[in-house]
Amino acid sequence: MAKQVAPENVVGRDKLIGRIWKAIDQGSVVFTAERRIGKTTVLKKMQAESPPNKVVLYADLEKVDSPTRFVEVVLTDLKNYQSKKAAIGRWLGGLVESIGGTEIGGVIKIPPQQKKGWQSILEKILTDTCNHQTNQQIVFLWDEVPYMLQKIDALEEKSGSTDNSSLAILDSLRAMRNENDNLRMIFTGSVGLHHVLRDLRGQDYASQPTNDMEKVEIGPLALEDAATLARNLLGQEAVTCDSQEPVIAKIVELTDAVPFYIHRVVTRMTLLESTVTPKDVEVLVQRQLVDDSDPWEMEHFRERLKIYYRHNLPDADGNSIPAASLAGVLLDFLALAPSPRSIDQCYADLRSKVRIDNRDDVVQLLKSLAQDHYLVRDEKGRYRFRFPLVQRWWRTAQGLEGTKK
């Protein structure tokens, strides 16, 4: 973040958005992406530049902490859309009235007595909207969905409630998607939905509330787009370079073409007193990576292992080992590996450090690390770090520099 980019100024996402609209024509979508990639920027651009056959409604669900609040958000978004485009209909007013809802400062509120019935209100709103708008697709862009689910769950747990509303929301939404041909949703968020689902479902819940949704990965920018972004920013920030193109190439290379890092690098370059050279870019990036105050918040990559890999795995002697430690060891090996490593090689690496004899556990671990964007598989099925920048940080942060593999 640090800079909210207006949709018209977003560089290099047109092709991706075109692909997403195609996917939306077929069904709903879950965005997966590493943090900092620019998911929200893509969502806002999609909303601002939506095709004529789609009604696109964006909401940041970070503020939502109850199922009722979620329904209110949906209602409010529809109402705001209605005030812009009268076509969505008079029916909404009637609906709000029928549930005894009131509008406060532009936000629709559900009265306390109706709160228990949130699920039926939600289903009614969505069904009615789709029925009134048959010639258009209704697309909800919901940002920070996993946060909302976690929050609702945590509050219920705190109050001793066993409602399990988070899963109920997901189940309702899935049912609505099944029933309404023209209803589409995009879920996204900075926490991996798969982790939240695993925690919500526990052991005995069989439902797969998002497996009808296509997973679309938002990756870094294409190299030429990243270069365009860097060039634009250098111009906007009035950075003087010795020779601009080599500086741009270096920025793109060292930031893995991730817009967030490109912005951060150029921002810092503005503060350099002299004209900038590719060497300055290198020094600057390295400084950011080793800076105590962790300005790029890379520590998150290490910290979240402890949060999302909390389960234990048995070693050869039946002792429990935290999955986070095993994941850490795997990443240590891969951070130093000069080329991608096969599952067997990773398994052997791990066994050289830990007495572990269940290959399947390691396969699962690698899979999770790939889902969480630490790793990626190449065409031969071998694993490597998804982002060289993260690999570089990992090597430094774990003190692996100078370590012989």
């Binding site: 973040m1 640090a2 800079k3 909210q4 980019v5 207006a6 949709p7 018209e8 100024n9 943090r35 900092r36 929200t40 806002k44 964006y58 909401a59 940041d60 970070e62 503020k63 902490d65 406060i104 400062g105 532009g106 936000v107 509120k109 940002d143 906007q236 920030e237 009035a238 951060r264 921002t267 503005t270 503060l271 007193e273 105590d292 105050s293 300005p295 918040e297 998150h300 910290e303 979240r304």
Partner: protein
Amino acid sequence: MTEPIAASSYVPQATVSEAVFRRPMISAYTPSNMDPKTRERIFVQRHQLLRQAVRWCEESMLTGNKHHALYIGPRGCGKTHLVSMVHDRVRANPQLADKMRIAWLGEDTVFTGLIDLALEIADELAKAYPDEFAFDYRTGARGLAPDDAAEQILGEIVRRLGDRSILLIMENLDRAMRGLGDTGQKKWRAFLQEQGRVATVATSQQLFEDVSSREAAFYGFFEIIHLEPLSVDDARDLMEKIARENDKADLVEFLRTPEGRYRVHALHHLAGGNHRMYVMVSEFLTKESLDGLVACFEELAEELTPYFQERIRSLSPQQARIVQSLCAADGAMTVKEIAEETFIPERNVSRQLGELRQRGYVRSEKRGKESYYDMAEPLMRLCLEVKKQRGEPLKLVAAFLRVWYSDSELQQELRNEMGMPGANARCLAYMKVALQADDVLRKIAGQEMASEFQRHIESERFDDAREIAEELVCADPPLGLLCRGLTHNKIGDARTAITDLSAVIELENAPVTIKSTALLARATCYSRLGNVEEEIADYTIVINAQDAPIEMKARALLARGLTYGAIRDLRRAMADLVAVVELENAPARHKATALVAQGHINSAIGNFEDVVADFSAVIRMPEASPATRTCALFCLPEATIPIKSLSESIASIRRAFEDGDPETREYGGDPSAVLNMVLRREHQSWPEFIQELISVYADYKALDKLGSGLTESIAALDDGDYSEAQLDLWNSSWQEFGSKHEELEIPLKALNAAIEAIKTGNDLSLFKHLPLEIRKIIRPLLKNTLLKE
């Protein structure tokens, strides 16, 4: 600055307040109330940052993009000044007039939730733009739950905003965020995100969880910029600007002198990079206002104490203990020293320091291999002292007075004041303590300047080094003069260097280490001027000085030995070098160098058995530097070739390649010296030697070095009395075994042509076979032949 200190009555509060009233244009506490032009004039250090912030605001107001910047720095570091300047500049931009609405929230506003933030923004906008935003926001929202009311008010603001954007200025964002709480923050972020109508310029005294924790709603939201404290140069710049603003031409001039610069250095040790401190004391830096200065420090210490106490309270007991021990220390400390002082295990100290550094309590600096830790806000020392001193004069302030005014000035003033009716007792007490005070601040400032000098020298910034040396002359005259002399020597001005170094040597009270260093440095100046006699005389003084450190004596002996060697007085040279080796407690590195030099002398006089002994001794010394050891390893074969078998000699070269340090310049040795030794052997053995040598150098990929050696050895062929048959044997052996190696192609051609020249006694062959650039290299090597010609 030459007038005596004026006698005046001492009323601390009144003096400072008076001064503030007298000069209302520069405010240390509320820069936002200053005249914008004054703000511009005294702005220092952060021009780039300011330009960037203004650019971001402009972009945010004129386009759909919105920047959110958070500036972090300790209390008094100039955050409000920076924000005020951003405000001044964007307000002055006519392009923004109809696009931007500014809501500058009060620094001390209390937030209990989003509702307070919404109301504060509404009220500020209504105050600044009554035509657009004057509205009864409260009545309409009355009766609603606070969050609903907030959303209603924000909705009303957005409606009234039209197509404009808001520039939200929030000081102490950490406090505001704490007030908003988790829910308020999430709602605020969602509002910013969804509306895209607000840009933020915010400040905070430190990094806080609500923006730094992964779980926080505003994690990663702001561009976080840590404000650097003022450097000594920035501080001087600021004080100069304030002095100019206050029409104090004499102070402006004084601050530019080395003495002035040095005093700011000392003040910097006390104040760190704190802007407010400099703004406050700038009022009182003339001698006429000594009482004001004292009052100012005391007031500042009082003002800041609660802030620092709060800072310490927020630490864990171990962290607080570490901070206290750093405050009590005179200068920076290593982890080990802190551990010894606090009885906290080193590992814990190290971990806690990492956290303290991250939280802005301490800073670290690497000197050599050690990291030194110091207070990031040195003023904390002053405040802790306030608590301890219980009304007694603050020692740190007294130490500062001792630096800022000379002893004679203080004594004079004390005499003038004593017994005068209405004399300021507090001020007198300070003067007395100052006169008795340990010269600690002077010493610390001196040490800091000396390390800065060292850094400048190492990075070859000689102008900066000379400037800091000038300041050092004021803090510590012998050390300052020495540093200045060393700088002159470095830039090649040996004569001026000698003047400075002689001044140090003649100073009565200069420490012996400084004097000895000056003598050694002066000797090198004399050497540069070709004055060997004076050079040797300086070394001799150090050697004979009773109390000179052993290291210096060893260095002097070694240098004198090498100088004797250079003038071919080998007997004296050898005596000095032997003395170094035999000198008890002399550093091993000097002994190793002496042994290498002995080896060279023994080699020159053909004493090869001793050469082998000398170099072997160096190779066995674990303390010898990699360069010296590598040098000995490669010199050893030169001595073995004339007296040992072929296989032993070749083994010795291989060992040099194996055991030598490839990172050193000495690696690879001097192959021409090796070849000269081969030439000393009976000529029948040459082909076998040459074949083996080529093979060794090829194995270690050093044929290019051997090629250069071969070329250089032409001089020995030219010098020596070799028969034509011997010359042909030498040449043909090289051509036979070397021709298949590309690296030797040119040296072999040169050798061929040179031998023909030596045989024929003319340089025709050079013209026939060699290009111009090679001819240029070969001709000087054939002095004998060409001279005859």
